[in-house]
């Protein structure tokens, strides 16, 4: 996290899935890469805000940012194959480590990066630079924690 401009750069990304018996491993990896790219978009870039009078503020791809090759890191994919006892060949589902996890994983990583500042946890997506900087600014200006009043639940 760049604390002066709020930009977030992904340095490493590992995804482990247990899909049971993988029928076509190449397709599985492709599905996970694509889902991860979409998840990174959700986590850091894609948003459709509206102004006070209901006008959309992101009506072209100039404003609605999609992650490109320079935003998606080299995702490392690892597989476990615990066969399901209930299905033919022991197959299970795949791809959920792609699109569903990134907003949580990336936001948790950013919160971990900002923890030394005492920043309030960010819980919103996308984590735009503006939101990251607002969290940092608020943390730096937070008053020191008050001692609990006698007789009150702290």
């Amino acid at each position: 996290v760049d604390p002066e401009i709020g930009n977030v750069e992904i340095l490493d990304y590992v995804i482990v899935e247990d899909g049971g018996k993988l029928v076509n491993p190449m397709v599985v990896d492709g599905q996970i890469y694509g889902g991860a790219a979409q998840g990174i978009g959700t986590a850091l870039y894609e948003e459709m805000p509206f102004d006070a009078s209901g006008q959309p503020l992101a009506s072209t791809f100039a404003d609605y940012l999609l992650p490109g090759p320079t935003e998606v890191p080299n995702v490392r994919i690892l597989h476990m194959e615990t066969l399901s006892p209930y299905t033919e060949f022991g197959v299970k589902g795949i791809g959920e480590g792609g699109a569903i996890a990134p907003p949580a994983a990336i936001t948790n990583a950013v919160n971990d990066a900002l923890r030394p500042l005492g920043a309030t946890e960010l819980l919103q997506s996308p984590l735009t630079p503006r939101r990251v900087l607002a969290a940092i600014a608020a943390a730096i200006h937070l008053p020191p924690p008050q001692a609990p009043l006698a007789g009150k639940i702290p």
Partner: protein
């Protein structure tokens, strides 16, 4: 989307271009690399009657070098500068700026003159050439004239060209060996137009100390005497203390009051200065 119907001309000389662009009965747009104009045509943001393609005019690709400067024709591409086909008198500054413009495919066709004439506030050349102290050479029905880049760009997508005038070339001053240059831009996505640009040139041998904050919502903010940002006068070495507060106040006075925008523009300039220090 597709552009509306237009006529297309590809003149062989500047006089023919001027004859077309000075006409008041037709709407004319000049086509060089088409990297900005193409999408604008396709989105119907412009609807000219005639597209005048200037890429067939040899003098617009000329490069002349003398003791003080190089004169670069308007149709020289960003790739020409990046690849070193244009002699570099800036100690690597301009090729570095060129290398960071958009994508290589855009750089293969996009031109210096086109970028300046389009005058997108976020364009790299608009900010960097203002910081370097470059000027534009304009040719029109009444003859030729010259303007500093910061005087040529008058607003968002607005330039000081009268009807019939065309940007013919850019004059880039030869920097001293001891000159220091720093350039930094902040983008949300690599290859996209910048959200904030900082540029600084420190060349005491030529009494030049210039700083620019670019990618504002308007014209770049040019400190033609950047010593004011360091609380002092021009000295041989780059001064240690950059007054970020002074830069922030100038930005606020120019209308940039949103704290996030203000902060990233000050940071862009600060990091440009850090790069100049390391040069």
């Amino acid at each position: 989307m597709k552009p509306p119907r237009f006529e297309y001309e590809r003149p062989a000389d500047l006089a023919a271009v001027i004859a077309l662009t000075r006409r008041e009965d037709i709407a004319v747009k000049i086509l060089a690399g088409g990297q900005s104009l193409g999408p604008m045509l396709n989105m119907r943001l412009v609807q000219p009657d005639v597209l005048v393609d200037i890429t067939g005019i040899p003098e617009l690709k000329r490069v002349e070098e003398n003791a003080d400067a190089i004169i670069v024709g308007a149709c020289v591409t960003h790739a020409d500068i990046e690849d070193g086909r244009v002699p570099d008198v800036t100690g690597g500054a301009l090729p570095d700026v060129a290398r960071g413009i958009a994508y290589r495919a855009v750089r293969n066709r996009g031109t210096l003159g086109g970028s300046l004439s389009h005058a997108d506030p976020s364009a790299d050349w608009v900010a960097s050439l203002a910081a370097i102290g470059a000027s534009v050479l304009i040719r029109g029905p009444a003859g030729s004239r010259s303007l500093a880049v910061e005087d040529f760009v008058t607003g968002v997508f607005e330039v000081a060209l009268d009807p019939g005038e065309i940007l013919e070339a850019v004059r880039i001053p030869r920097l001293s060996r001891s000159a220091r240059w720093g350039y930094y831009k902040i983008c949300r996505k690599t290859g996209e137009l910048a959200q904030a640009i900082g540029a600084v040139l420190h060349d005491p041998e030529r009494s030049a100390f210039r700083a620019v904050i670019g990618a504002t919502e308007s014209t770049p903010i040019v400190f033609s005497d950047a010593a004011s940002l360091f609380g002092g006068t021009l000295r041989a070495g780059l001064p240690a203390a950059f007054d970020a507060g002074a830069a922030a106040r100038v930005l606020s006075a120019a209308g940039m009051t949103d704290p996030y925008d203000n902060q990233i523009h000050v940071v862009a300039l600060k990091r440009a200065i850090d790069r100049a220090r390391l040069a």
